[in-house]
């Protein structure tokens, strides 16, 4: 298994004003193995291992929920726009098909 799986980076603008629409950029390290590839030496199939469920919470509210499949690249990058109307934690949760759960929380504090 490759090292560094589940390392997460979330980027926000340095200063956030209330009512502003910001772009949140996220990056997660994951191999996103499709299950269709073969190991060239042993001729055996590499088992599928990919993220299939992403959800974003702003405070208690579920903002977006995504179903990913094998078409998404390795080390997936995701960005979305967010209207800032309160000071609350932004929680992003990734789930993969082997039961791995990776999450990170950042605090959004508008001026």
């Amino acid at each position: 298994m490759p090292q560094g799986i589940g390392k997460i980076k979330i980027r926000l603008p340095r200063t956030v004003r209330k009512g502003q629409i910001i772009t949140v950029k996220t990056l997660i390290i994951h191999p996103m193995e499709t299950g269709l590839r073969k190991n060239k030496k042993t001729k055996k199939k590499i088992p599928a291992y990919y993220i299939n469920d992403v959800s974003v919470y702003y405070g208690d509210q579920l903002i977006t929920h995504e179903n990913w499949s094998i078409a998404v690249s390795a080390n997936p990058f995701m960005s979305f726009d967010l209207k800032v109307d309160k000071a609350a934690p932004l929680k992003i949760v990734w789930k993969d098909i082997k039961g791995g759960i990776y999450q990170k929380t950042v605090q959004i504090e508008p001026r």
Binding site: Q3, G4, T26, L27, N75
Partner: protein, 284 residues
């Protein structure tokens, strides 16, 4: 029956493809090439300046790799791990990198600018990855790390990232001179089934196309490695890229950190003297 036909077709198509490549990249016949091989350096003129090449690159591909690197380079995580590895105690002598080079190995700031350089003990060119493994073996009594492994790349990348923004100052004076010459000869030597040299593509036809790919100029080739490459989906070193190119040229690949690849790395880094180190890079 259909299998037989497909095999026949393959046999027909392959020589045609080879002829196409040699046809587009200069009409070099076998007899001409034979006279130019050996230790002589082929006289080639640079096809275009780096600025012009960059203009073409932006026309074909835009600046999406630069944008992706800005949004978040997956190789950034290796730098954080390399920092932890520099403070970790390994080996029989109970030492870490930090016990000689200060906390977080910060004394190594600027050290990566002079690599690769001549080493008297090795009687050859010392690259940064080899230096780290030599240090692990001799000073710390630890097992040297496997090349292209996660830990090896993380340590190399971390040490190199300490000198980010500093100009490269590789020296080829004195004892390093013959190794530089060997690297230059290897760069200009035609070899392999397709009879290519590195210089044919990256000097004579840099900025033109091989099939659908734009051939890159040999300037700024060595200042951003190890880097994240989208084709690999992984971080890799310059020597891995060398071996990839050699596979395309149908040359027998030398092993990592062999003398041939180290000399080649010295030659290519010397071209970039004065450019600033920017790791980790991101390439297509």
């Amino acid at each position: 029956m259909s299998k037989k036909i497909s095999i026949l077709l393959k046999m027909l198509v392959f020589p045609a493809a080879v002829m196409l490549v040699t046809g587009t990249l200069g009409s070099m016949t076998g007899a001409q090439a034979a006279t130019q091989s050996g230790s002589k350096i082929e006289q080639l003129t640079q096809s275009m300046s780096y600025a012009e090449y960059q203009k073409r690159y932006e026309k074909y591909y835009g600046n999406f790799t630069a944008q992706m690197a800005e949004n978040g380079n997956p190789a950034d995580f290796l730098i954080d791990d390399g920092k932890d590895l520099a403070n970790k105690v390994v080996g029989s002598k109970g030492k870490s990198c930090a016990s000689c080079h200060g906390k977080d190995a910060l004394k190594l700031k600027g050290a990566a600018t002079t690599f690769p350089k001549y080493n008297a003990k090795l009687k050859g060119v010392m690259t940064l990855a080899l230096q780290i493994n030599t240090c692990l073996k001799n000073q710390m009594g630890a097992k040297p790390l496997k090349y292209e492994s996660y830990d090896q790349l993380a340590l190399t990348l971390y040490v190199k990232s300490l000198s980010n923004g500093m100009p490269i100052q590789v020296s080829i004076d004195g004892p390093a001179k013959p190794f530089y010459e060997k690297g230059k000869i290897a760069y200009y030597k035609r070899h392999g089934q397709l009879n290519f040299s590195c210089a044919i593509c990256h000097v004579k036809y840099a900025g033109y196309k091989a099939r659908s790919n734009l051939i890159s100029n040999n300037k700024h080739h060595a200042d951003h490695w190890p880097c994240y490459r989208l084709k690999w989906g992984k971080t890799g070193s310059l020597q891995r890229r060398f071996r990839g190119c050699m596979k395309n040229m149908r040359v027998k690949k030398p092993p990592f950190q062999s003398e041939e690849l180290r000399n080649l790395e010295l030659y290519l880094t010397y071209i970039d003297n004065g450019d600033r180190i920017q790791v980790p890079g991101m390439r297509m």
